[in-house]
Symmetry: C2
Subunit: 196 residues, 2 copies
Amino acid sequence: MARPRQSEATRQRLLDEGVTAFLEHGYHGTGLKAVLDEVNVPKGSFYNYFESKEDFAAAAIRHYADCFADSMQQAMDSSPDPLSGLRSFFKTLMADFEAAGYVGGCLIANLGGELEGSDTCRRALATAFRGWRDSVTDALRQGQELGQVRTDIEAGDLADLLTEAWEGAVIRMKIDRSLAPLHRVLDRLLGDYFQA
Amino acid sequence: MARPRQSEATRQRLLDEGVTAFLEHGYHGTGLKAVLDEVNVPKGSFYNYFESKEDFAAAAIRHYADCFADSMQQAMDSSPDPLSGLRSFFKTLMADFEAAGYVGGCLIANLGGELEGSDTCRRALATAFRGWRDSVTDALRQGQELGQVRTDIEAGDLADLLTEAWEGAVIRMKIDRSLAPLHRVLDRLLGDYFQA
DNA sequence: GATAACAAGACGACCGGTCGTATATATCAG
DNA sequence: CTGATATATACGACCGGTCGTCTTGTTATC
């Protein structure tokens, strides 16, 4: 053929930095130059990796969703039961939020609030949210089978409520600069409403 | 002393249009020129009304919160009891969302996800959210006194959960272009968990 | 040499913000 | 009262800078 790609790693570095930047400044608030400078990729090279900023953002959303799923899977694998796995996962998220000084939050919620024009990104966000919701559903269903979680409400319904309430609490966490909303929503739902 | 303001109404029109624009395109996605053109205010006049774009956004947030509070008060006043007032309020919100084609959503959530740099706006958002949460608290407390709402959980705690879950559901509504998440969260919380 | 990835910098549009000036009113001297 | 003056507002041209994108040429591999 011809000159081979320098490396797939460059694309990954761009995506990593893209997730960080989009998290912190949103879509329109993020300039490609800032991302490119951060990972030392020349501006002229950007379009060798992505078709457009919109395409880049959609790829970043998918990348974020993949990392999110991995992180949750890891928490589930290293916990004795699904419910404590879920709590452990949320705990690591909270630790990350605190460490980051409450900036960032959840990419899905941040971009979801901002991206009206792009159907590409909207679809990526929908897939990402749905994937996470389904993972939570699985965990809750296992909790139901083990008698940890009430069975009179379908696991999917519980997962919808938990994930959506969590997203809302993350928004409020950012606004109030406090983890309290996150603790509250977990205590109220996992610790009370969802109990068998 | 000097030439009188063309009218306070101009400022209001700017704020109305600002709320619309920020709702649809976010903070960084909204250009002042677009807002100004929409209400036929020259560029140079903008800074007679607001110190900066940031100041404008904070004012828009407060304006939005005021309209929100009025709308809720109206729903409460024209309902026989606080719980159905709450439901009526959410119903009008949903009708607005549907009419707008699921663009927009909630200004507090949209800007909350995006505005990391501005403490001014963050504080305005915190005040706005808190105000709404307190209104919901009042309604739920009245519901408790009337025996409509369970009393073993404090009204404030219920309001926190309801408002945050609602915000998360609005995010998901925008992503999925469907009112279903909103209906679900109301049925699950108001229709079940909150029941006396 | 053929081919394809990489990169430099140009491009025009647009950004938030500023400037000088025109305009209209309030004040006050007479 | 009249009319000069001070002053806050209205206004649009314009500022430097940044935006996402594209054209063009270079470089490395076959």
